[in-house]
Structures are given as C-alpha cells and as structure tokens.
Symmetry: C2
Subunit: 392 residues, 2 copies
C-alpha cells in the first residue's frame, strides 16, 4: 500500500516549482517517495512529476527492496561482485538511458542537505558529494538543476497518515528500550552497560514488531550528577562510570524502525530518590505535560515552549533550562521544523511531529529531562508510544 | 602523545602540493590529524603546513575533546543552548579570524569524499555539502581551494605505529563480540538476537578496554542456508529467522573504537556440523590463511587474492567465490586501498591494513566466510586481534 497522499503532495509542490523530476540519493528521501529504506545508501530514486518512479538499486538488495517498495520501475546495477562496473559509471549509464527517454527541463536534487540520516548500515554513509552534481549536469545536459533541499524538508514537515502510522510503530518500539532501562537501572550498572542493554532489547525485540523489518537504537546514558548535568547537549556520552546509590541515570534514545525515527528521554534513580530529586522530577514532568497539553493546530512554537518554561520558571529553576523545548523529527532523529523555542513564531499544523523535552541541569543535583514525540492532529495532540514517567 | 609521524608525513605531502593549510570537517579526517574523534561531526580542524593546528568545536564537548586532542589551539562556539549563534555563522566568524591572521594561498578541503564514516553519534551525520565550499570560498577570498580527498585517502593508506596500536585495540575489542557470538549461537536464537547480543557485549565490555573511550559495534547475522547464501553482499541483513538444528550463522561485524575500525567475520553452526559443512569451512579457512601467509611488502593485491582463490578453485568451488579477497580499512569500515582482487596490481607496503575475507556461497549449503584484518609489517604480516576459527 503506497503513501498516495505523500506522492500527490510532492507532485503538487513540483508543479508549483515547475520541476519535472527529482533525482534523489539520500536514504531518507528515497524512503519518503518510494517506501524503500536503502540498505547502504546506494539506491537512487528518479521521481517524475508524471508517470512511474524508477528505483535504481544494487542487484543484491532486490529481495529486500521488494518488501517495501511502492509502485516503481526497478533497475539494477551489479554490485559487490567481480566484474561489476564501478558504481558511479553504472549509475551514469542507467541515468543516461532515463534522460534520453524524457525531455525534462528542470530537475530537482539534494544539493544542500547537510544533516543527514544514516542508511540501514549506519557504519558507513554514501553522501551526494560534488560528484552527484557533476554526474547530473553531464547526464541532463541542457536541463536546469534545481536544489530541492528546502522544498523537501518543508514537505516532510507535515506527516501523512501513512507516515504517522510508521512513526507510531517506531515510538512503540522505543518503549521496549524504555522498559529495559527501567529494569536495568541499579547500583553498580555503568552508563555503557545500560545503553548497550537498551539497544540490544530494541533490536532483538523490536525487529518484527508490527512487521518492522529493520530496527536499530542509539542509546546514551549519563550517570550521576556530574555527567547528567551536561546532559543538555545534543548527545549525552555514556562512560564506564557505575551507578552509586542515589545516582540519577539519564537515557537519551534515538530509535529507527524502517527509516522512521523516535526520540525519547527517561530518567531513573538507583535506589530511593531523595526529596529534592522527586521535587525536581515532578517539576520537569509537569513542564513536559504542560507543553504537550499546549500542542494543537495554530499555536506557535514559542507558545508551547512557554508552557513548559513557565512551569520551570515558577519552580525557581529558569536558569537551569538552557535549551529549546522541542524539535521536528520523523525522517531523521532531528528535523528542522517545527522548533519549540522562545522565539519560534512558526505555527503548528496538522501532521507535524515534534519532540517535547524540557529539562533542568545543575552540577549539584544533575540533569533531569523527559521526552516524548507528539503528533499534531485535528483534535489536538497525540503522544506516540505513550510510556510512564517514573523516577524509581 | 601525538602521532608525530602522521603529522610530519601530511606536512610533507602538503609541501609537495604547495598546500598552505587544510580545513577538514569529516570526523575521520579530524581524527587523523588531531587525535580527536568528534561527537557529532560539528568540529572543524584547521591544519596549517607550519604552526599549530586549530580545532573549532562546540563548547559543550570541551572536556571530551581534551581527553584525546593533540597539541592544538582550541576555539569554541556555543551550541545546543538558547542564544547561540547559528552554527554556520559561528564557524564563519571563527574561520574569518583565522583567515585574516594568515596569508594562505592554497587551501585544501574535502570536496569529493563520498563514502564517509559516521561520527560517534552514528544516528545522524553532518556532511560537508556545497555550503562548505561556499563558506570557504567566501572566507578565503583570493585563495585557491584544492580538493584534497585523494591526497588524504592516499596518506591514510599507510598506517603509522601510533595508528597501528589504535587499530590493534579496535580488533581486540572486536574479539569480545566474536566470543559472544560463539557463546550465543544455539537452536532457537534469531539473527537479530545474535547481532544485538554481539553489539551489546562490545559496547558494554569494550568501552574502557585499554582506555578506549567510545566503542560501538555494527553486527549483522545471516541465519540458515538461504540467508547466508547471499552473504557475499556488502552487508548481511539480520532477520527474525531462528536458527534450526544444523543451520549456519554468518556474522559480519564492524567495530569502531575511538574512530578506528575493525572488520571481522566468523561462522558457526547450531549443533553438530555435517561433513559437508566441515569440509567447506576447512576450504575457506585454508584459503583465508593462505592469503594471510602471502601478505608481505611488495606483493600485489592480485597475488594475495590468488593465494586465497586458488585454494577455493582446487576444491571445485571457484564459481562460489564471487567477491574480492579484501579491502583497506582503518579510518573507515572500508577504505579504498589496498584492494585484494584478481586485477589489483597495487603493491602492498608497510603500514597498509587490509581485510582478508574469502568466502563461498551456494543456495544449497549457504554462505561461508572468515575474515580478519591484517597489517603489512616489515617482517611480513600481523593479524590484528587474533581469534580462533571454529565452526562449532
């Protein structure tokens, strides 16, 4: 079942910009318009405004691609075997044939994507460097190459019903990791042990969940006040520091299921929380829930941010909340819109997905953050993959 | 302790090309010339031919960078906090100051790297897209921008003693995963469960091994004849298929420790191997060891490939070995040199690191491959992180 709403919206956007076809290489965009999340980033999607898309792929991933690819012509080049033509040359030949069969005048490609999601094989990334521009220039001679990075990022901001369901699955899978974290936090466990256990649980139990084919987690656990106090950073850093009695453990968790992302944070204490820990946790929990409650069509990012920030301010902790309340996500761990920040005038729209993750950080008591992903719906907001928030 | 041999060799190469300074953004190259493996790929290294390098980094990673950064001037921009200037603008301002303090005429940068290693945070990648060229053009006005992608890849081909020791650690860490694999292969275990367990063990036990700070594994396990028969592909794909009695399990394992990579493959059978399985395993083992024995300075990639291929050919399995015998690695999971293939006339040199990974694949009996990483030394060859090869 294809994501027809997505295809139609993209075609309307292409029409408005008079773009005849897109040639896409980044895994996240190949997924967006073909349903297929490439194994190693070596697939190219040619998406014409009219007619059937063409997915050019390495021959050895034919079976895997067929499990999720929507209606598309499939063309293969041989890869990873003796006698195969070099990949750039193989792509050139196939694209040349496509070029000659059409008279496209304006062709969109990804010139300015500079934050990118990994392919399934996160150990290595193929990026559209200058070769891609040169390749397309030489093939589509006489055509105009248009950078569609902003257009695609904008289109991605509002998720379709099809994508919302995929994102729900990713968030539900992330709950397996949150549960494993709860279960594993104990005196003597180290940050890397906790992170590794969360990742193991998600890959082992999440693969196959609601038919998800490829599931991977990226977990980071800061342990104790000193480590978690700098947990406002875009990533915590897990170390071999072991939990002592009364320490906090702060889990930052990115999860990808078939190319769709979830971003969660939970916090636990090893042993019995102190009164101060419980008080701060409750402030952050209320801030988080206040922001979630504020989410609906038409409100600005700043209004949602303020819903969280005002709770933290009222508790006398304003100086301890140095970051924004949330960011877009979905086809990546982080997307550029919406942004829930004090100066964001962007209005939320149906289909937007945002993290909601206020936090307070202080050397003395450590870092406290809680994070869920929230979809803007017609009725208000939906927390994807709901999961309890408890300090112990 | 800095990697002075590397710094001197790079400076000589820059001199030969009359390059006054390098401006590097890719994590693998920042590591190469500074010792620091960036957390999220947001660090920039300015490496002048003469004088002290400058590492520009997000302020929040100062402590982590200081653990491994060699002699360098450190400049920070604020990141991930309210009120911070947008990153591109922050970098522009700092680079402008550096530009004005020097009169560099030829500046090298990474225009054509298109296969890249992830940063520590493998969940997201910052890539030097066209902005980087534009940024550097506007800052170093009047200077010439030189693509140094090939120069750097070539320099990286021969590892220094410092790097060999780091790569040894990565390979030794990978053995923790190979041991976990041996222990975990049993009837009823699925490919994703085995892969997840190998990754867990490496992160949990490998971090801290010989002071390694950041360790992560990317494991893939093909289960049974059908899945492993296509295991010649650049990556196997782990599924929920469970091991049945007598099934093979083929582990492909990428490991990164502080930015240095290992690439291993092992094979196990759940239960007692059949005579045929044992025979094929022994052919592949002998082919692998024959190739390792052939490695020394001055031999060509083709000669090493033939050492493995001739063993497989003699066993009547020539048609079942469709791929090359090995590839370079070290700063990535895969590097472009050396290549051990039937048509590789490149001669091995001291300091080169290559995978050695012959395999045979057939629908009926499945895929059999064994892989170690081998360093070319003055005395011949050194298998990094030696580990037994046993089918059961």
């Amino acid at each position: 079942m294809a994501n027809n709403e997505r295809l139609q919206r993209m075609r309307r956007a292409m029409e408005a910009e008079r773009i005849d076809a897109l040639v896409l290489r980044l895994p996240e965009n190949v997924l967006l318009l073909s349903g297929y999340w490439p194994m190693i980033g070596a697939a190219v999607l040619v998406f014409p405004r009219e007619g059937t898309p063409t997915c050019i792929n390495a021959h050895c991933y034919e079976a895997e691609a067929s499990l999720s690819l929507w209606e598309a012509e499939v063309m293969h080049y041989r890869y990873g075997v003796l006698g195969a033509v070099e990949r750039a040359e193989a792509l050139r030949r196939i694209l040349l044939g496509i070029s000659q069969a059409h008279s496209w005048r304006r062709i969109g490609y990804e010139e300015r994507f500079h934050t990118v999601a990994p392919s399934w094989n996160a150990a290595e990334m193929l990026i559209p460097a200058c070769e891609t521009r040169e390749l397309l220039s030489s093939i589509f001679e006489g055509s105009q190459l248009i950078d569609v990075s902003v257009l695609i990022e904008e289109q991605r901001t509002r998720k379709t019903a099809f994508e919302a369901e995929k994102l729900r699955i990713a968030s539900e899978v992330s709950c397996l990791g949150l549960a494993a974290f709860e279960k594993s936090v104990r005196v003597g466990a180290s940050g890397v042990e906790l992170a590794a256990e969360v990742e193991r649980e998600i890959m082992a139990r999440g693969t196959g969940y609601k038919s998800a084919l490829r599931v991977r987690a990226f977990a980071q656990v800061a342990v104790g006040a000193e480590e978690s106090a700098v947990g406002y950073r875009p990533n915590e850093i897990s170390t071999t520091r072991k939990l002592r009695k009364g320490d906090v453990a702060l889990l930052e968790l990115g999860v990808v299921a078939d190319g769709y992302w979830a971003d969660r944070t939970r916090l636990r204490v090893a042993g019995t929380p102190t009164e101060e820990q419980s008080r701060i946790f409750e402030v952050v929990r209320q801030a988080q829930q206040s922001a979630v409650a504020a989410i609906r069509e038409g409100v600005t990012g700043a209004q949602v941010d303020e819903a969280a920030r005002s709770v933290i301010r009222a508790a006398g902790l304003a100086d301890c909340f140095p970051h924004i309340t949330g960011h877009g996500l979905g086809f990546r761990y982080h997307e550029s819109a919406p942004i829930l920040s004090p100066d964001s005038s962007q209005k939320l729209e149906e289909g937007m997905l945002t993290s909601v993750e206020p936090g307070v950080y202080e050397q003395r008591f450590g870092g406290f953050r809680l994070e869920d992903d929230v979809l803007v719906t017609r009725k208000g907001a939906e927390v994807l993959g709901p999961f309890r928030m408890a300090l112990a």
